[in-house]
């Protein structure tokens, strides 16, 4: 690696285009152009200097902005493809995705499914795209920020004439008409918050160098953000679960290591009322039919007391009472419980009267808790009822046998054995809603339906996301960096004495219009002519 010694004496790293100190062009061919390419101060970027080993090639590939932009554009198009049809997570679960896409969207849906676009954002190739953007961010930034930092740090006040001449804003003024010490100009520069450095009567005024780091700061933020996204795949960092709790029920909250329990006191669904709510809404409510106003679960959070013995029912200690509403989750220990679903009026209990068919005389009443039915109900006076089988969600299977679809009491059915003084061996009866079957011939006794009770059920999402901090910190740094780069400008003005002339050059990383206006105000009344925009002359 040979270093390049400039005629001004400064030693530059191999690959430098413009001397870090005086700004003279170190590469002959590049000096031919009228204006210097000031983008990275002509510093020695690794990607522009080495291209031999495989590592060089990979480095150069990812450090290219062209590649970066292509990655962005391809990701953009891929993302758009995923919005043509709903993603798998948003389709109803009534049938398999393969069937659903074909059923709803025909051949196009089938193709969409076969291409894997129904799960596009978690497909391997989409993740590869995002990862490539991440790699590109890291390499691009390192490739530029290090030499740029060196160059800006080493720059000296007196720049080489060829450097000044090849700035976009450049002008020469005859020195005879000018105040020798630039006092007025310096005052104006200070008024515009420039930092002034002087050397041999030449001036370098600079401000907002800070904004040059904006892009690299925001890239750092994005990298932290992407790391947060990767951490999601680490077990335990991200929990996405669901708990359904009936009113009056206390349940263990999943994923809390058996530590936390939740009691659901009441679920409330409110809708807007044309009469009672804001009158301004009445027309909108009329047009929409029904508008939901509130979904709310009133809950109590419990924590298991430490000395609970395993196997026994846990001893619980109340932690807090809370009303979970949409937009107001219950938070504890990094967990959050969200009101996301509900089920109104689920059957909770059924009552029956035991009657003798001949006179319809009630002989006793039983109320069956459909979620925890008892084995046997004693009705007194020698009457009792046994539950031989219970089907909470009853249906007949293909062989005509009764079975239950789920444990949710949507359609309860029972096989009762009625024990009475005159039938001590019991009579058997199959009872479902609006249906009674007596499999062993006519019974003398009957279980007569007497009523139901219902309860609402709250569906709460259980969420823990330990990666959120990465996203928060990454997002904040990104926003900071973007603002830093976007809302400040790095401006430099060089004023150099050259024999009987004053040379003025100006450079900014953006907003040339603003710099021109500012230079105009700074030089106003000093006798120095405003530098010309050499790009506009062309």
């Amino acid at each position: 690696m040979k270093e390049v010694k400039c005629e001004c004496g400064h030693v530059n790293p191999h690959g430098t285009v413009l001397c870090e100190s005086c700004g003279i062009s170190l590469i002959e061919e590049k000096a031919q152009g009228k204006l210097h390419d000031m983008r990275y101060e002509g510093s020695a970027r690794r990607s522009q200097t080495y291209n031999k080993t495989i590592i060089d090639k990979i480095w150069n590939f990812f450090s290219s902005v062209k590649v970066g932009v292509w990655l962005i554009v391809v990701t953009l198009i891929a993302s758009a493809l995923g919005t043509i049809l709903p993603q798998e997570m948003y389709i109803p679960t009534i049938m398999t995705p393969a069937e659903y896409y074909e059923d709803q969207y025909g051949w196009f849906g089938k193709l969409y499914y076969q291409l894997g676009f129904h799960n596009l954002y978690s497909s391997w190739w989409y993740l590869v795209l995002i990862a490539s953007i991440g790699v590109s961010l890291v390499i691009c930034s390192i490739d530029r920020v290090v030499p740029l930092y060196r160059a800006l740090k080493t720059q000296r006040v007196t720049r080489h004439e060829s450097f000044l001449k090849r700035q976009r804003l450049f002008g020469i003024t005859d020195a005879q008409t000018v105040d020798e010490t630039f006092e007025k100009v310096k005052e104006n520069l200070k008024g515009k918050r420039y930092k002034i450095r002087e050397e041999d009567g030449n001036i370098l005024a600079e401000k907002g160098r800070f904004s040059r780091w904006g892009p690299y700061v925001n890239h750092c933020g994005l990298i932290i953000f992407l790391i947060g996204g990767m951490l999601r795949f680490v077990p335990g960092m991200y929990i996405d679960d669901m708990v359904w709790i009936r009113e009056g029920e206390t349940k263990l909250i999943p994923e809390t290591d058996g530590q936390y329990y939740l009691e659901n006191k009441e679920f409330t669904l409110e809708v807007y009322d044309k009469e009672k709510d804001n009158k301004a809404f009445s027309e909108a409510i009329e047009n929409a039919g029904m508008v939901a106003k509130n979904y709310q679960s009133d809950v109590i959070l419990y924590k298991k007391v430490d000395d609970s013995v395993a196997g026994e029912e846990a001893k619980l200690e109340e932690v807090k009472e809370y009303d979970i509403r949409v937009n107001e989750p219950l938070k504890f220990e990094g967990f959050a419980l969200y009101q996301t679903e509900y089920k109104l009026d689920e059957l909770s209990s059924m009552s029956f009267n035991l009657v003798k068919k001949s006179d319809n005389e009630p002989l006793g009443n039983l109320k069956i808790d459909l979620n925890e039915p008892e084995k046997k109900y004693d009705l007194g006076n020698g009457y009792s009822v046994e539950i031989m089988s219970y089907f909470p969600d009853f249906e007949f299977n293909d062989d005509g046998e009764p079975r239950t679809k789920s444990r949710v009491p949507n359609n309860p059915a029972f096989v009762f054995k009625m024990l009475t003084p005159d039938k001590p061996d019991g009579e058997i009866s199959f009872v479902a809603i609006q249906q009674t079957v007596e499999p062993f011939g006519d019974n003398e006794y009957q279980m007569k339906f007497a009523g139901i009770e219902t309860k609402d059920v709250s569906g709460l999402t259980v969420r823990k996301d330990s990666t959120l901090w990465f996203f928060a910190v990454g997002g904040f740094i990104f926003m900071f960096g973007v603002a830093q780069g976007a809302y400040w400008n790095h401006r430099r003005i060089w004023i150099r004495r050259k024999d009987n002339e004053i040379w003025v050059s100006g450079h900014t990383n953006k907003n040339w219009h603003g710099l021109k206006r500012e230079i105009g105000m700074i030089l106003d009344g000093s006798g120095i002519q405003e530098p010309k925009d050499q790009l506009q002359d062309e």
Binding site: T83, M89, E283, N287, K293, V326, N327, A486, K510, H513
Partner: protein
């Protein structure tokens, strides 16, 4: 008060309309110093009227907020009207920064179109569903609107650049695409004219049809049905019979409206071309005579530079925070979220191309046009067609 609110919006609309010719007067060829002063006077009147219009629209916004008890940012009409207001605000700020009257001549008509478009949606003050009941509603939505409005100014000045820079003496790809932009504006006018026309004549036709779940349903059209729903049947005999029938997954009523609007736009466009006997781009070109290309290029770029962080903050950062609170996760690949990401990626690419690849001038102006097209797609197509979780924004 609800009436006062709508009247204030109407007043704002009219004032913006009145301001446009003043900006037109301000850009006529400057000859002597004397005349220059008089043109400055024109511009001053124009900007004053614009500011009064803006205040009036602000009054609309505030009174509607008071009446409804929540920030009027909760449906298509409210959001789009607010977006129009932000666009005017962004214009006013940029005007004082750069003193360019011609920008008013382009941005104000865009704002007018946006507000007129907004008014075609149901304007009832509607109650908030539980997911929207949060102070993040005003924070998230207003920041997004402001960001998008600033980005739209970039489109406005990019458009001025193109109108001036594109050679109208012969037909080229550029002139054709410029006419496509002009046609899109005319099509929005077509949409407004057609919708208001049929609304005034109180046109209604009801159809029974079979929806995508194979269930019987009815659909009321407010325009004659060129496109009828799946297995349609007239409810009242004698109503207009649809010419074509579409499968159940396509929303026939919306498609019908789109066809009517594009058709009306086409008729209008052809009429304009027949009357002026040249491209609309060529008609507008003289208005940009005195504008400095470098300056509009710079305005376009700086608007992106200012708007991009604002959009990121509103459309991604605030959006994610609220989504974490309301929907349990900060990101869920909902179509609206994805299109916000697409917008963000696009402007990120724009900035990289400009900063590192030196895409200035015409290239950069075309990029500003594409960026605005993406924003409009997100506002119109994603809300009305792709729907998803943001579907309440569709009515």
């Amino acid at each position: 008060m609800a009436n006062l609110s709508s009247n204030l919006l109407l007043v704002a609309f009219i004032l913006y309309l009145v301001a446009i010719p003043f900006f037109g007067g301000a850009i006529r060829q400057k000859k002597g110093l004397e005349e220059k002063k008089s043109f400055e006077k024109w511009a001053k009147i124009g900007i004053t009227i614009t500011i009064i219009g803006f205040l009036s629209q602000l009054g609309f916004f505030i009174t509607r907020w008071i009446v409804g008890g929540h920030a009027p940012l909760s449906n298509m009409f409210e959001y789009t009207a607010f977006f129009g207001m932000c666009l005017v605000l962004a214009f006013i700020l940029i005007y004082f920064l750069y003193k360019t009257s011609v920008l008013g001549l382009f941005v104000l008509p865009i704002a007018l179109l946006v507000i007129a478009y907004a008014s075609m949606f149901p304007r009832d003050i509607s109650p908030l569903i539980p997911a929207l009941q949060s102070y993040w509603l005003q924070i998230h939505v207003s920041t997004v609107a402001l960001g998008e409005a600033i980005l739209a100014v970039s489109f406005g000045s990019g458009l001025i650049y193109l109108v001036k820079a594109i050679d109208q003496s012969k037909r080229s790809k550029s002139t054709t695409w410029l006419e496509v932009i002009m046609y899109s504006f005319v099509a929005i006018i077509g949409f407004v004219v057609i919708t208001s026309g049929f609304a005034l004549s109180d046109y209604k036709a009801t159809y029974n049809y079979i929806d995508k779940n194979d269930a019987a349903a009815t659909l009321e059209y407010s325009m004659p049905a060129l496109v009828g729903p799946h297995e349609w049947e007239l409810v009242n005999k004698g109503d207009f019979e649809p010419l074509v029938e579409v499968p159940a997954i396509i929303n026939a009523k919306k498609l019908n409206t789109v066809i009517w609007s594009l058709g009306a736009g086409l008729v209008l466009y052809i009429l304009i071309r027949l009357i002026i006997r040249k491209r609309i781009g060529a008609l507008l070109q003289p208005l940009t005579k005195n504008i400095n290309l470098d300056l509009v290029d710079e305005i376009s770029y700086r608007s992106v530079l200012i708007g991009f962080p604002v959009f990121t903050l509103g459309g991604l950062v605030f959006a994610m925070i609220w989504a974490q609170i309301a929907w349990t996760r900060f990101w869920g690949w909902d179509p609206k979220e994805v299109w916000a990401l697409i917008t963000w990626l696009f402007y990120a690419a724009f900035l990289h191309l400009r900063l590192a690849k030196g895409w200035h001038g015409e290239k950069s102006a075309w990029l500003a046009v594409i960026g605005f097209a993406i924003i409009m797609f997100n506002l119109i197509a994603v809300n009305l067609v792709l729907a998803g979780l943001h579907s309440y924004a569709g009515s």
